[in-house]
Amino acid sequence: MLTRPDTDALLSIALETLQEELLPRLTGDDKLTGLMIARALAIVQAASHDHGEQSKRETAEIAALLDEPPCDDPVTARRQLAQAIRARKFAPGTPDAVRLRDHLLGVTAARLRLVNLKYMAARQRRAESSI
């Protein structure tokens, strides 16, 4: 296991070097590629700070929604939830449907916060027409 630098520190300085030294010198398609690499590294950095907490919360919420014991694997838990939604186990207008939407929004917001925080902020500042 690396301790000095640890993986976080190494990722952090790699990203900083890319953004401050390399990206300003790139142009055209190379600049776009550089920006995509920087974005991918920033997502990895943000996700690495979570330490699986979000997944634990998600699987616990799904277990409560389905009234079943928690499943350790988030993909399996999500699959069970997806099947229950398709089977119409959350009738519109019921408290269960409200809990489901709150869960979906919470999980989606948590994941989107990692990959595109700016989108969420801009989305919340929106102005809509009344046509």
Partner: protein, 372 residues
């Protein structure tokens, strides 16, 4: 892939097609093709009915395709139909459907002026808006450049929507028929498609249920572009110079095209400009109404916006699978998958807004996802 090594083969093909002697100059690869590759090529033809210089675009399939996209031959037939309907589209020049010339089927179409890249178009419009404001100030009688373009886009779509199955009998036979069960069939297709994806998508399942329950009655079926938005529109100095990329076109409810342009995912961050990030929804609707001669039901358009958001999520997931399956390794495709999360977020908010009476939209419901 470089086309340079095919220069002679391309010249021979064009010579045979035109009955002249063609010399080909290869230009660079053009942007904007996630599903197909586009190259600029210039052709000088000596002799024959098409003698002279021709500025063209060569369009070939990318290494891996996605489920919804059409072949080059089908796209050329659609382009010709749009041209006949009076749309501003590039004229098809030649088609090579066998893949024997450059290793993949390709089409050649006329190259038109303008830029398609959304950020460049938005910068262009921002510059024009600044000049317009300096010139006209608060004069409300002078329409802003973004609204002028939005109005023009409405007119253009209305021309395409004049094409009905009756108007092209026997033509476009490769297009799947569509009828009153249009939405139900799409929902069933998407559910089958979700079953094939490696990861479950609870939000999309939730949205599909809502779409199934709120599908409007299908009142008319016309030819639709089904990808009419910035990125597929050539714009020069704020003017539309060409509608591109007919590879998703098909029979559908024309309101689907209007909803697609207005969907938040195609506003490129310019959320307040509800017609594709370009101009106002009112100007876009007006332009459409003036040419189509029919009223627009805003609620139907908003339904199709939600449907479009779901569809873009499905396409984004598909794009990612092109990378994850090993068919086409690409950081861009891998990152495109994450766009589906933005769609999830929009679906959760937009469906709630649709379900609420309009006056309540001003009072935002605070919910779990908005806390942090």
């Amino acid at each position: 892939m470089s086309l340079d090594k095919y220069r002679t083969a391309l010249a021979d093909f064009i010579s045979a097609e035109t009955g002249g002697t063609a010399a080909v100059t290869m230009g660079g690869k053009l942007g904007g093709g996630a599903i197909q590759d586009n190259w600029a090529i210039d052709v000088e033809i000596a002799g024959g009915p098409q003698a002279g210089r021709h500025e063209l675009v060569l369009r070939s399939d990318a290494v891996s395709r996605i489920a919804e996209s059409r072949s080059r031959a089908e796209e050329v037939a659609l382009l010709q139909t749009a041209l006949d309907a009076g749309m501003t589209v590039p004229q098809p020049f030649a088609l090579e459907p066998t893949g024997k010339v450059i290793g993949r089927p390709f089409s050649l179409i006329r190259r038109l002026p303008g830029v398609a890249e959304p950020r460049q178009v938005l910068h262009q419009l921002a510059d024009l808006a600044e000049m317009h404001e300096a010139e006209h100030g608060d004069d409300k009688t002078s329409e802003a450049p973004g609204d002028v373009l939005a109005r023009r886009l409405g007119e253009e779509l209305a021309k395409l929507h004049r094409v009905t199955l009756e108007a092209v009998p026997g033509g476009l036979a490769f297009l799947e028929p569509a009828g009153p069960d249009l939405v139900a069939r799409r929902v069933a297709d998407y559910r089958r498609h979700l079953d094939q994806l490696p990861e479950p998508q609870p939000v999309l399942e939730w949205a599909l249920n809502w779409i199934e329950d709120h599908a409007p009655a299908i009142e008319r079926i016309t030819l639709c572009h089904r990808d009419f938005r910035l990125g597929n529109l050539l714009i020069d100095d704020g003017r539309l110079t060409g509608v591109l990329d007919f590879e998703f076109a098909g029979w559908s409810d024309p309101d689907e095209d209007l909803g697609w342009l207005c969907a938040r995912c195609w506003r490129f961050g310019a959320f307040a400009q509800e017609a594709g990030g370009i101009g106002s929804r009112a100007a876009f609707y007006d332009g459409y109404r003036n040419v189509a001669g029919r009223e627009i039901d805003d609620r139907r358009i908003r339904f199709w916006e939600i449907f479009g958001t779901l569809r873009w999520a499905m396409i984004a997931l598909d794009q990612g699978e092109r990378h994850f399956s090993g068919g086409e390794r690409s950081l861009n495709l891998a990152l495109t998958t994450l766009r589906a999360l933005e769609c999830d977020y929009d679906l959760l908010h937009d469906i709630e807004a649709f379900d609420k009476p309009a006056p309540e939209k001003k009072h935002r419901h605070k919910s779990a996802g908005d806390e942090a």
